[in-house]
């Protein structure tokens, strides 16, 4: 196999790649994270790059406009290497608005209630060792969060989040499962998540001046597919009938798992329920606590897989909404995670349409995170900038037309860090509408299965990577959350991570997690005959059935 040199700009990285491989493959091996919603199948058009030098083969695609072809802009997954190349990777094609750096999340993680579970750390240090550090990880489809804890004192030393590098192989779990079935696919996906985790581990260890060999264990909470890929278990049966997960997750040594902590350290995973309800949901239920209380409660995870749990100490029912990564900032023109510079609160002036906003950490705006988008949608509806279908229907100096439809300018380039306008486009709104429609309709269907009205729920726990705030009122107004008295809502932050931490520090909590997992009944939405109808109705702001949202008036 002939090998050729591929140079990537503006990163100035050079890799060697085999003839016949694609530019996307080369970018991945160069460590450049290019968007690939469809996992390199050539259908999503998100991986566009520009050929500066060289003559690659371009596979046919309906996604390239004549203008793009003239400018030599092609999807990286359809650009086949036949000789040396120089490639420019535009900002828009890079995965997530910010680079995959490990950053402090701004969210508040609820502290473990003292005395809730007897303290008995999951991992022990070898005899003679004074120190004992452990990690809890929430391995999300889009975002990975890792937390370093001193297992001797129970104190949290730091938390960092990073994008899941598996995004280069697909933005949703089904696409990644399909990718894992390709030769070498499982290995690549496994390496990608290990790299994401490794960066967080190294960063936190360095900041706290802790040698890696003093880290003796990692507890992982994640959805079933994520854990399969982490443990290098073939996930093929998750997506095929009867949609099975491996019945229990093996405990591995760090050496076997491929993680750089003490080689004799342990990698353990929280048990899941089914193919689509994983340890992260179990962990979230543990964190919320309603599994051992009387009142009927609901846990809504507004993440890529949108898991919903409804129940109490009498029963627990769950489903997965498949909401997509929009509320984590992925797939949107100016979307980003809730880290410094992310717009998280917005108000729009009713006359001028100018936006007043707050960013995480107060840094200059770089993009918009989930809570920022929720505020924006609510404000735009309130001000008549968009109609209930999500189409921009106003005019003004903050609204402009582009080739791909209209967009609303939130912050002009003069005020931003990169000098580029921060906008929300009609395509972004469509994506967000679909995400919120998926979450809401999943709640409605689950309630219907249990013959319950959503008004019977006493408390609704919200989990998600929103940073330190989620405006419940606005989330209801756009139809993401059910229209219930606002006091019933409690925002938990990352419940998967907080539950994981409780289990890291208590073996009793681990036993409890197993018990919770065995009690959850899974309801499959894909095979529910009424689901599509319900979903279609939720694709409107707030909902096609306005009666379901009596307190919402625009």
């Amino acid at each position: 196999m002939r090998k050729f040199k591929i140079i990537f700009r503006p990163d100035n990285l050079t890799v060697e790649a085999e003839e016949g491989k694609t530019v996307l493959d080369a970018a991945v091996s160069a460590g450049i994270d290019i968007n690939s919603s469809c996992g390199g199948e050539g259908t999503c058009g998100k991986c566009k790059v520009r050929v500066l030098k060289g003559a690659p083969d371009i596979l046919t695609s309906g996604l390239i406009s004549p203008r793009e072809r003239k400018n030599k802009v092609f999807p990286a997954c359809l650009t086949v290497i036949r000789g040396d190349l120089e490639i420019e990777v535009p900002e828009n094609s890079r995965a997530a608005f910010d680079a995959f750096t490990a950053e402090e999340p701004s969210g508040i993680m609820p502290e473990t209630k003292e005395g809730e579970f007897k303290r008995s750390p999951l991992f022990a240090s070898p005899k003679g060792s004074v120190f004992n550090f452990g990690f809890s990880f929430d391995i999300g489809t889009t975002t990975v969060a890792g937390q370093l804890t001193d297992l001797n004192t129970g104190k949290i030393l730091g938390t960092k989040i990073s994008g899941n590098r598996q995004a280069a192989f697909g933005s949703d779990i089904i696409t990644r499962i399909v990718y894992a079935e390709k030769p070498g696919g499982l290995k690549k996906l496994n390496r990608a998540v290990l790299e994401s985790m490794g960066r967080i581990i190294e960063s936190l260890a360095e900041e706290n001046k802790i040698p890696l060999k003093e880290i003796h264990g990692i507890l992982c909470s994640g959805n079933t597919t994520m854990i399969h890929l982490l443990l290098k278990i073939d996930p093929a049966w998750i997506r095929r009938q009867p949609q099975l997960s491996v019945p229990s997750f093996p405990t591995l040594t760090a050496k076997k798992a491929g993680i750089k902590i003490n080689p004799a350290g342990i990698l353990k995973c929280i048990p899941g329920v089914s193919g689509y309800i994983g340890g992260d949901t179990v962990s979230g239920v543990l964190a919320a606590g309603f599994y051992r209380e009387e009142p009927l409660c609901m846990l809504i995870d507004i993440g890529t897989n949108g898991e919903i749990v409804l129940g109490s100490r009498e029963y627990l029912a769950a489903c997965a909404a498949s909401a997509g990564p929009a509320f984590e900032g992925s797939g949107l023109s100016c979307g980003m995670r809730a880290v410094s510079g992310a717009i998280q609160k917005v108000e729009i002036d009713s006359k001028t349409f100018k936006s007043a906003y707050l960013t995480v950490s107060g840094d200059p705006a770089r993009g918009i995170c989930g809570s920022g988008y929720i505020d924006l949608l609510s404000e735009m509806l309130q001000r008549g900038i968009i109609d209930k279908n999500g189409k921009i229907s106003a005019e003004g100096k903050h609204i402009r037309s582009t080739d791909n439809g209209k967009e609303f300018i939130v912050v002009s380039g003069e005020e931003t860090r990169a000098g580029q306008d921060i906008v929300v486009s009609e395509t972004d709104i469509e994506n967000l509408k679909r995400s919120k429609g998926a979450v809401y309709s999943a709640c409605a269907v689950l309630a219907r299965h249990l013959s319950l009205d959503l008004s019977a729920v006493s408390r609704i726990f919200i989990s998600g990577g929103f940073g330190s705030r989620l405006d419940i009122e606005k989330a209801v107004r756009i139809g993401l959350l059910p229209d219930l008295p606002r006091e019933k809502f409690i925002f938990l932050g990352n419940s998967s991570l907080s539950g994981c931490r409780k289990i890291l520090l208590s073996q009793d909590a681990l036993k409890e997690a197993f018990s919770i997992a065995s009690r959850i009944t899974y309801f499959d939405l894909a095979s529910d005959p009424g689901y599509m109808e319900e979903y279609g109705r939720a694709l409107f702001f707030p909902h096609t059935d306005l009666d379901k949202f009596p307190t919402v008036k625009f």
């Binding site: 109609d387 209930k388 279908n389 189409k391 229907s393 109808e533 279609g536 109705r537 694709l539 409107f540 096609t544 306005l546």
Partner: protein
């Protein structure tokens, strides 16, 4: 033996839509029962027939239709008069096909001028439909709407992605509007909400559910219309609009209409009469024989009611 029928009583009511200028108007809708179930409520308005006329010679039409229209098809006024006098249609449905970029691309002022002349000659209630090209229609429809002010026409069609221009015109000039959805109850409802959010009362909306001819989706359209009607009669005001169905247009697309002489008219009649059972309030038709059969059918069903 006495049979006691179980009769349903519905709390909802379909809007009454009035089309046509003062003194020459007709009404559709206003029922509070399912189609033809006269014992369950009030069905004040039998279905109406609209005769379809183009502003240009319909070169695409099946030869059988052109044959029966004869010379009249070359002159929109004569063609419309054929529909009124010979077919006894209740309305004329004027399609401004000549504005379409592929059919003559007539500009807005030419079209508006023509509509003015048409309105002088033709005095029955009018449905005015654009060419089907969104960009062009957004130019011609406001002009036609203004030219037709005072005639309380039924203007078409608003779709979910392009409704604002037409609704604004209907509001400004006092017309009714056709809300077209692609055989989807949710979209029909959403579109009605969007239209009424702009200030047009629900009582000025007629729904075009996009029907298919017999064998080409008739029963799918039927089920959508039935679901929408049931929802409306159960109290959902946003779906409580009369229906308009393009029976002629759809039936004459079929292979069956073209293959055997005489079969086209039957296909159109069967499509139209079946849709009456689904709740069609206005049927837009083409063939005089089909219209005759359908009118007969309506008289029999509604005779004495």
């Amino acid at each position: 033996m006495e049979t006691n029928l179980t009769l349903e009583k519905y709390p909802g009511l379909i809007s009454t839509v009035t089309i046509g200028s003062e003194g020459e108007e007709l009404t559709v809708g206003g029922q509070n029962a399912l189609p033809l179930l006269f014992k369950e409520g009030n069905i004040p308005n039998p279905p109406k027939i609209a005769f379809e006329v183009w502003d240009i010679f319909p070169g695409d039409f099946d030869p059988e239709l052109l044959n029966i229209y004869g010379e009249e098809a070359k002159d929109p006024f004569a063609w419309a008069e054929l529909g009124i006098n010979k077919c006894k249609a209740d309305l004329i449905c004027l399609r401004l096909q000549g504005a379409h970029p592929d059919y003559g691309d007539k500009n807005a002022s030419k079209i508006a001028g023509f509509v003015e002349k048409f309105l002088c000659r033709i005095k029955v209630p009018l449905v005015i439909i654009g060419s089907g090209d969104d960009i062009k229609d957004n130019l011609i429809m406001p002009a036609c709407s203004e030219a037709a002010r005072g005639r309380r026409c039924l203007l078409g069609s608003a779709v979910q992605d392009n409704y604002k221009t037409l609704v604004a015109s209907a509001l400004a000039d006092g017309h009714n509007i056709i809300a077209e959805s692609p055989i989807d109850v949710n979209i029909a409802k959403q579109l009605n909400i969007l239209i009424s959010d702009m200030g047009l009362p629900l009582e000025r909306i007629v729904i075009d559910p996009t029907i298919g001819a017999l064998g080409y989706g008739l029963e799918y359209a039927y089920s959508i219309m039935e679901r929408a009607r049931l929802a409306a009669l159960s109290g959902d005001r946003t779906l409580a609009s009369p229906f308009i169905c393009m029976a002629g247009q759809e039936a004459w697309k079929s292979k069956e209409a073209k293959e055997i002489p005489g079969q086209g008219a039957i296909w159109e009649a069967l499509t139209a009469t079946s849709l009456i059972q689904a709740g069609a309030d206005i049927l837009v038709m083409r063939h005089p024989k089909a219209i005759e059969e359908t009118k007969n059918h309506i008289n029999i069903l509604f005779g004495g009611k």
